[in-house]
């Protein structure tokens, strides 16, 4: 190979920019992965503040902490920030940091594009929350307040916050598409010799499916948001019957994106689980093939079930039936995943380090999320449960119980690899138990509230709902406080405290990343390994 490549490609450490400039200009997958993860953590805390505000407002009826308008802004931003700001970036961070190491690649395939994909995110977050600040200067009436689903006609009539949200969606979409394209290309083109597709770690598979889904559905949301912008300012009637359009069309576009989006959030953490369980069960993963095929089945089904979110929006009976049964069908491949996870730990020599605890918690909580999803998927029952707190509880079991638990498990699992330091196991266990207890207090009570008839997205409620709301709020405070332990544990390892980690970190860990030192050198696999 020509030496010119060595000169430009493997420039020496001394001409790398330092400080902020390093992070702004980096083309290194590990740097970019860390940026994604830190950004995600920051957004998780911001979204958490919004969540706690919601629960403070709802702690007792007739509370006047915030006005109804501000309440709507808070719940909307909570949803958007958690989904687009916290979960998606954090899983993309894992992808960037881990995939090249897992498949023996020198870096991501398109490193500058990779950097661009990340740096679109902070601007998107700024655009989203800027109306808070503009309002202080008398411009507009604050950020978007329509709920994260931005249904027309409310979003057509809303204030300037909606426009800022639309532009934020454009930036987020560009970022997600770029990251996905990069990941697909990396997986197809940069695997080490011998790393056949069916030998790849399941985490890599899970991100391949996530990327496919993002490429397949995010453009639909971008198109829909552009149409919304046109309806708001350029006189079109896409979502208004006054010109022959239909507000329900927005729901179709949003959920054509939105339902696959829940699997976009789920997949990477299902992959994380399939890395963690074999490690602490000291057994190979059960049903590797079955899991890969389940991923395919879930991805394929997820793009044809979207209208289960619209059972109450008006749909012909045939449509209701189709979307009901196709939705229920998704639980089959999901159940196969569960079965494989359980079979993996079955009769293993289990130990319960913090990553394992969170992984097991994931199985329990996400199981509840999936089962209550089946309840909602019943088109007849959903007339009662739709937009009640039952729905809120369902998707928090599905989203916190699944993806967030999975991300936390992944953080504890790979933190020693990334920082070279072990976290405090005692604090990790405490974090797990407080999270489990806090989470179930917060959201189990919401199932009952929902069945009793309490609607979502309201700043006040009837007296009969008071006791359970108090319980839920107290649980939320505990849950929120527990997450500070996570922040402490990360900061502690980052600052270089704690036991040094070995290369393998965990006794039962396998995979290329665990053959590298902890922390791994800045550039890994300049020369690709050959996989036996």
């Amino acid at each position: 190979m020509s030496s010119a490549i060595t000169d430009l490609g493997h420039h020496h450490a001394h001409d790398e920019p330092k400080g902020l400039a390093r992070w702004l200009t980096t083309t290194n997958h590990k740097d970019i992965g860390i940026l994604y993860m830190l950004f995600g953590l920051t957004m998780f805390l911001l979204g958490g503040v919004f969540a706690e505000l919601i629960r403070v407002q709802l702690i007792h009826p007739a509370n006047h902490l915030v006005t109804p308008e501000v309440y709507n802004q808070i719940i909307t931003l909570h949803g958007l920030v958690m989904v687009f700001g916290a979960l998606m970036p954090v899983t993309a961070g894992f992808a960037n940091y881990l995939i090249p190491m897992m498949i023996g690649a020198p870096d991501m395939a398109l490193p500058r594009l990779n950097n661009w994909g990340f740096w679109l995110l902070p601007p998107a977050a700024i655009v989203l929350v800027l109306p808070f600040i503009l309002k202080l200067f008398g411009i507009g009436n604050g950020p978007v307040d329509t709920g994260w689903t931005m249904y027309a006609p409310l979003s057509v009539q809303g204030g300037l916050g909606v426009d800022f949200a639309i532009f934020a969606i454009f930036l987020l979409g560009a970022s997600s598409l770029m990251a996905s394209i990069n990941i697909v290309v990396t997986i197809f083109n940069l695997r080490a010799p011998g790393m056949a597709l069916m030998k790849m770690p399941l985490f890599v598979w899970s991100w391949l499916m996530t990327s496919f889904l993002l490429i397949a559905v995010f453009p639909a949301l971008i198109a829909g948001s552009a149409m919304l912008l046109a309806d708001r300012h350029f006189g079109t009637h896409f979502f208004s019957a006054a010109g022959g359009g239909d507000p329900v069309l927005w729901e179709h576009l949003f959920w054509f994106f939105g339902h696959p989006e829940v699997y976009i959030l789920l997949f990477p953490t299902a992959g994380i689980l399939s890395q963690i369980l074999p490690t602490f069960a000291r057994k190979p993963i059960f049903g590797y093939r079955a899991q890969v095929y389940s991923y395919w089945a879930i991805a394929a089904l997820s793009v044809v079930v979207w209208a289960h979110h619209m059972f109450t929006s008006g749909m012909p009976v045939a449509g209701q039936l189709y979307f009901m049964y196709s939705t229920m069908l998704i639980s089959v491949p999901l159940a196969i995943l569960f079965f494989c996870w359980l079979a993996t730990i079955w009769k293993g020599s289990l130990t319960f380090e913090t990553p394992m605890l969170f992984a097991l918690g994931y199985i329990v909580l996400f199981g509840i999320g999936g089962l209550t999803g089946l309840v909602l998927a019943d088109a007849v029952a959903d007339q009662q449960y739709h937009n009640s707190f039952f729905l809120v509880a369902h998707f928090h079991y599905a989203l916190f119980g699944g993806p967030i638990m999975g991300v936390i498990a992944g953080v504890y699992y790979w933190l020693p690899k990334i920082t070279g330091r072990m976290y405090s196991e005692r604090l990790g266990k405490l974090h797990f138990w407080l999270t489990m207890i806090g989470f179930n207090i917060t959201f189990m009570s919401q199932f009952f509230l929902g069945v009793a008839g309490m609607p979502r997205r309201i700043p006040d409620y009837a007296l009969q709902f008071a006791p359970l709301n108090l319980v839920s709020s107290l649980g939320a405070f505990l849950l929120g406080a527990a997450q500070l332990i996570l922040v402490y544990n990360i900061a502690r390892a980052w600052a270089g405290y704690g036991q040094p980690a070995t290369s393998q970190v965990w006794e039962g860990a396998h995979g290329l990343e665990f053959t590298l030192p902890s922390p791994p050198p800045h550039h890994t696999f300049d020369e690709q390994p050959v996989i036996a």
Binding site: F167, L171, M227, D246
Partner: protein, 286 residues
């Protein structure tokens, strides 16, 4: 899984740190903030947007300049080339979804929303003399006509089809290293693209001034402009990129075996071509 100590010798080109991606992102942020303010009637937004746009152009030019320098400097080999190809293919797939969504919208309006509105009680029609007709005239209450597909649109179809042929011809001569013929056919492609755009602009003008077909004239008008406008934007981008390629060719870039940028742009151009065929059939004709 075990990693053999035997290592490969092939090396992948990882570019050195670059300030342009982050610069580009913050420039896009300015554009977004500016536009969001502007559409809400704050004139200052306009200036923020212009600053953003200028910075976008600056960052893009510098970034692409780096890429071209690396390409001409011989840093890209088969392995990198394959990444670029795959990347472009997946980018075009995402564009397919974007257009497919708008075609889906067209289908929904024509077969669901307008017929459903027509099936309601006649006292609840959205505007006077509303009828279940497609294209629908919309609520403006002025005279309304659609573009005759067999005049300018048909001509535009011919133009774009031939431009697809000319760009293929140019590629042929690039592979045979005949610069003169290459420049001729590429310039012809650009010219056809420009004529298409001029005719299209003229058609939009007539739609507004004579036909009463506007963004506000109901869902047909809105979707008509969404689809043809987005397509026209793609043609514009395509023309700009083809011109950049032409400039590079005049400067002696590319060789018969090494010209990914040319191929990427021609893929894009063919894609835009195919979209137009679908537009012609579903928006103008049927």
């Amino acid at each position: 899984m075990s990693a053999n100590t035997a290592a490969t010798t092939r090396r992948y080109f990882v570019p050195k740190p670059s300030p342009y991606p982050a610069l580009l992102s913050f420039a896009i942020m300015l554009l977004a903030i500016g536009l969001a303010l502007r559409v809400n009637g704050y004139p200052a937004g306009q200036w923020i947007a212009w600053v953003g746009l200028a910075s976008i152009v600056f960052a893009l030019v510098r970034w692409l300049g780096n890429v071209i320098g690396e390409s001409e400097g011989g840093f890209y080999h088969k392995w990198e080339d394959r990444s670029f190809r795959l990347g472009m293919i997946w980018f075009i797939i995402s564009e397919v979804v974007l257009f497919a969504t708008l075609f889906g919208v067209l289908f929904y309006e024509r077969n669901v929303s307008v017929p459903w509105l027509a099936s309601l009680d006649t006292h609840f029609t959205p505007w006077p003399h509303f009828a279940d007709a497609w294209p629908t005239a919309g609520p403006l209450g002025k005279s309304f006509a659609t573009v005759n597909p067999w005049r300018i649109p048909a001509l535009n179809t011919l133009l774009l089809l031939s431009s697809g042929a000319t760009v293929t011809r140019a590629h042929h001569w690039l592979k045979h290293d005949r610069r003169g013929a290459l420049i001729f056919w590429l310039a012809a492609t650009i010219l056809l693209g420009v004529i298409f755009l001029v005719l299209q602009a003229n058609e939009f003008y007539e739609a507004y001034t004579e036909l009463g077909l506007t963004l506000g004239s109901g869902v047909y008008g809105a979707t008509f402009f969404a689809l043809t406008g987005l397509h026209g934007f793609h043609v514009t981008v395509g023309v700009v990129m083809l011109t950049a390629i032409l400039v590079r060719i005049v400067r002696g870039h590319f060789d018969p075996s090494h010209h990914f940028a040319f191929e990427a742009v021609s893929w894009y151009w063919h894609f835009v071509d195919v979209v137009w065929m679908l537009l012609f059939v579903f928006v103008y004709w049927l």
